[in-house]
């Protein structure tokens, strides 16, 4: 928050020089990154690569949430962990790696799963949220908290040979506002979870490392873009730094695209390997962000809605982080 006009140190200039000379970044963009905070929920297949590039870029405060420990079967895709750290809390293992890559950011460990009880308190301390989790119940919880706390959310998911990514709630609008174009929340795009029988986890169904890796790196790319260009802030707070050519709607993500990645072990890259699917904006009828929504932080904390029941009655797996 403070220090947005401070000088960069010599160490910062040297370390960040190659991204600062990219047109559109500059010292201004770099200072915005340094003054930003990001919460990465999940230190698994998405969170590892996302965190590497977010830390590398110099985002000033980086929080990591995960309640799992490192296991051997994680390591083909969770490339910021290490064989010698098997059994260590994933949060601590990941921060160990990030600190050796870039000691300048402040790293905050939240070595437990995100819950309806602890969620609001944790998310409220950060500017932008990355959903790198692995189960529907936590995904709906995170989105609801982002609506109520007005946080932009970069959400990705991956199973087997497929990946998805979407930027939600960016820029954030107050809950219930529907008289102007507003960005959608997770529920606007994905109204109901699949039945538990149709929901595949990476543990049960498998995952190719580079597929989840692509989605994690892309999450970092969107987070850095949003914070460096202040796409999450109202136009007047962003100043005149935006490049020409992009419409305000494109910048503002009020009708975001869902990116889907289809990796095919038996075929080459083709025109349908990546597709960008046009989603709608905020829905008037959305349970979380729509007109007359009754969702509140107090309600969430006290168990209303019941995310586990909403997602089919199964509690999140004990080893929920991928």
């Amino acid at each position: 928050p403070n220090g947005s006009d401070r000088r960069l140190t010599d160490e910062e200039f040297e370390r960040y020089s190659r991204q600062m000379i990219v047109p559109g970044m500059g010292k201004h963009g770099q200072l915005r990154l340094i003054n930003s905070s990001v919460l990465i929920i999940g230190a698994g297949g998405l969170g590892c690569p996302a965190a590497q590039y977010i830390a590398g870029a110099g985002i000033g405060t980086i929080g990591i949430v995960d309640g799992d420990v490192v296991e051997p079967s994680n390591l083909h895709r969770q490339v910021a962990h290490a064989t010698s750290r098997i059994g260590m809390a994933k949060v601590d293992s990941l921060i160990t790696h990030l600190r050796s890559l870039n000691p300048l950011p402040t790293y905050i460990a939240h070595p437990f799963h995100l819950t309806a009880q602890n969620g609001a308190d944790i998310l409220s301390r950060y500017d932008l949220i990355l959903d790198c989790t692995d189960n529907p119940a936590t995904r709906y919880l995170i989105s609801d908290l982002c609506v109520l706390l007005q946080k932009p959310l970069v959400s990705a998911a991956s199973v087997q040979t497929s990946g998805q990514l979407i930027v939600l709630n960016c820029p954030p609008s107050p809950q219930g506002v529907v008289d102007r174009p507003c960005a959608p929340c997770y529920r606007c795009c994905f109204r109901k979870p699949p039945p538990p029988s149709a929901n595949l986890s990476c543990g049960e169904a498998g995952i190719m490392g580079p597929v989840v890796g692509m989605m994690g790196v892309a999450q970092a790319g969107e987070a850095i873009k949003i914070l460096a260009s202040a796409l999450h802030l109202p136009q007047d707070a962003r100043g005149a730094s935006g490049a020409s050519g992009a419409s305000d709607a494109e910048r503002h993500l009020t009708h975001p695209h869902l990116l889907i990645y289809s990796y095919d072990l038996a075929s080459a890259i083709g025109p349908y390997t990546f597709r960008a699917l046009r989603m709608g904006g905020r829905k008037r009828s959305c349970f979380a962000c729509g007109e007359g929504s009754t969702l509140t932080l107090e309600g969430i904390r006290s168990g209303n809605p019941d995310y586990v029941q909403f997602c089919g009655g199964l509690a999140p797996p004990p080893h929920a982080g991928l």
């Binding site: 999940g42 994905f190 699949p194 699917l277 046009r278």
Partner: protein, 110 residues
């Protein structure tokens, strides 16, 4: 809107992604030819297509992984020419020649 005659057909492509291709013989893309009008003479819609897919293309017996209570099951996005079908009228959308319809299951792993 459609001036189709009874024996006209409409050719579209149908794609499956996010794992749904497993229900359709592991093929990600089908070329589908539909009658331009249904039995009662109305232009064919997405509802007609979904029924057609279940009847003619689906190889997997687990129909409920695609359709529940006669509607696409929760957790599947439907895209008409790469746009969410909620922007296009959902099941009532009248198919046009060369439309691309994509069914993609939403993922939650990470």
């Amino acid at each position: 809107m459609s001036a189709a005659k009874n024996n006209d057909t409409i050719d579209i492509t149908v794609d499956f992604s996010g794992g749904l291709e497993m229900l359709f013989d592991n093929k990600r893309r089908y070329s589908v030819s539909l009658p331009a009008v249904d039995g009662s003479g109305k232009p064919v819609t997405m509802a007609f297509l979904i029924d057609h897919l279940c009847t003619h293309l689906m190889k997997d017996p687990r129909v409920d992984l695609f359709v529940l209570d006669k509607h696409i099951r929760p957790g599947i996005l439907v895209l008409i020419n790469d746009a969410d079908w909620e922007l296009e009228g959902e099941e009532a959308y009248e198919l046009q020649p060369r439309d691309n319809i994509l069914f993609v299951s939403t993922l939650h792993g990470g």
